[in-house]
Symmetry: C2
């Protein structure tokens, strides 16, 4: 089994109102050294596949087809081998 850690970020040219709102909140709290904030997603996907290359190919396809919107988002992911899903729940 592999755990894929997937990072989805907005492409640099895309406006990020959520990030601007967070930046405004941080400034309001006194963190005036915050120059910019970009908000993205962090997804953990457990794949019950023993072969690393096949897990890699599957996660790549998941990112393209569902996890990221390729028009406005970039993605990258890391695979790590793991014994089971947390809590043992499938």
């Amino acid at each position: 089994m592999y755990l894929a850690k997937v990072y989805v970020t907005l492409k640099p040219a895309v406006n990020d109102p959520q990030g601007l709102t967070i930046k405004g909140g941080l400034h309001a709290l006194g963190f005036d050294r915050v120059a910019q904030v970009r908000a993205g997603k962090y997804l953990q996907v457990w794949v019950d596949e023993p072969d690393r290359a096949r897990a890699q190919a599957q996660v790549e396809e998941m990112c393209r087809r569902l996890l990221a919107n390729p028009v406005i988002e970039d993605y990258r992911f890391e695979l790590e081998e793991t014994a089971a899903v947390p809590g043992g729940v499938a």
Copy 2:
């Protein structure tokens, strides 16, 4: 200047309806080896602070006070030195 890469995840005991929905969507697309999905946030925060220890302390405080909800979420972050914010916009 430092870039903080902040990862915010739900605590293991907290229900994750967004993750369940994504898992259902992946199964519907034929990815039947997906055992579990957990959805979290990935925030990039650029801090205009030359001192690493002070940047570290500030980001730690930002996480506790705004970026994560400590009741239901865990967080971790990495700091990396960077020359400027992307696009040069402050």
